[in-house]
Amino acid sequence: MKRQKLECSLSPLETEVLTILWKHKRLKVREIHDILAPTMEVALTSVAVILDRLHAKGVVGRDIEGARGGLRYIYFPLQNKKEFEKTLVEETVNKLIEKFGTTAVSYFNERFSK
């Protein structure tokens, strides 16, 4: 049920990547790919693109860290899982109210009074 809540606004791969980041906190692109690879056929470039999308959406942040050679991006979630779900629910409810007005508000009143 919780995974379904995430998937309604994130793609399956985005959900997987975000779940990994919630568990490990800070990871590089290659590290996330290494975790995903045994269970899912995904290219390293796909993981990089997904992380860039999540960064653009404001779901993950990234820092630059020195590595053995050169620099690498380190990704980290900007919210923990509970905070992210709460944000998602708030945005969804606000959008419903914005679109359906009193109909949505009446429904919520009925739903939560039961």
């Binding site: 390293l44 630059i64 053995r68 690498r72 991006y73």
Partner: protein, 258 residues
């Protein structure tokens, strides 16, 4: 104020000598375009020289026209010799000065602002210096990391020798693939191909007649030579090929996503 003098305009266009000089200059610009289009086999250095000459002859009539009256307001006595020196100098400054000096310097400043310089202990910097020496590139070759997610690499040989590599490229390529990319860029530095690329970019931006000329063969040939150099140094074409495949895959996925 002289630039918008209506009387000056009439004086210019009713003077057969001035119109003749301006027309001759434009004609030479067109002749150079024809030459560039149909003499594709000439040396790259000659092509660069002709591109600059074309820009000069294209710009000259306009500078000549605007300075026609302006010269007299700039100098106490504006004789024909002084006018010629000023006009030619200004046309040269626009055609060569901007294209050869100002443009590349501005590009370097912009690229440096978006990137982080590799330290002297950085492994990729040390790799670059080692192979720069092998390739006969003397002196320091700066390595800089561009703060972008898109995997890319490019190099400059003028006014400074710099290789730029994006952090995104280091994220998605293996060590051997990164080596292949650095070797590829080192070849460009040793052959000073960035100079030709910046000249032909300036040529296209400045001249509408540039549409009739293409340098695709020269650029493709240079790319193949750079790939061949990387493959020779690594003893295999595998890494340079796979690095390009990964870069293209990222770009293709990113386009689909956006």
């Amino acid at each position: 104020m002289a630039l918008f003098c209506t009387e000056c305009t009439y004086q210019f266009f009713y003077d057969p000598v001035k119109v003749g000089v301006a027309s001759l200059s434009l004609l030479l610009a067109v002749v150079i375009i024809v030459f560039l289009r149909y003499r594709q086999q000439m040396d790259v250095k000659w092509k660069m020289t002709l591109m600059y000459a074309h820009i000069f002859f294209l710009v000259f009539p306009f500078v000549f026209f605007f300075m026609f009256k302006g010269c007299e307001s700039l100098f106490a006595t504006c004789n024909a010799t002084m006018q010629l020196i000023v006009v030619v100098g200004l046309a040269l400054a626009i055609s060569i000065g901007v294209g050869l000096i100002v443009g590349p310097m501005l590009f370097v400043i912009s690229a440096r602002a978006r990137s982080i310089k590799a330290t002297k202990e950085d492994e990729w910097y040390l790799f670059t210096q080692k192979y720069a020496g092998i390739q006969g590139v003397h002196g320091d070759v700066e390595l800089r990391y561009v703060q972008e997610i898109e995997p890319k690499a490019f190099s400059l040989s003028w006014p400074n020798r710099i290789i730029f590599v994006s952090i995104g490229l280091l994220d998605v390529l293996s060590d051997k693939e990164v080596e292949a990319v650095l070797l590829h860029e080192l070849y460009h530095i040793s052959s000073r191909s960035s100079v030709f690329k910046s000249v032909q970019w300036y040529f296209r931006v400045t001249s509408p007649l540039a549409l009739f000329v293409t340098f695709e063969d020269d650029l493709n040939c240079e790319e193949k030579e750079a790939d061949a150099f990387a493959a020779t140094m690594q003893g295999t074409t595998g890494y340079i090929i796979s690095s390009k495949e990964k870069i293209n895959a990222f770009l293709a996925e990113n386009i689909n996503v956006r």
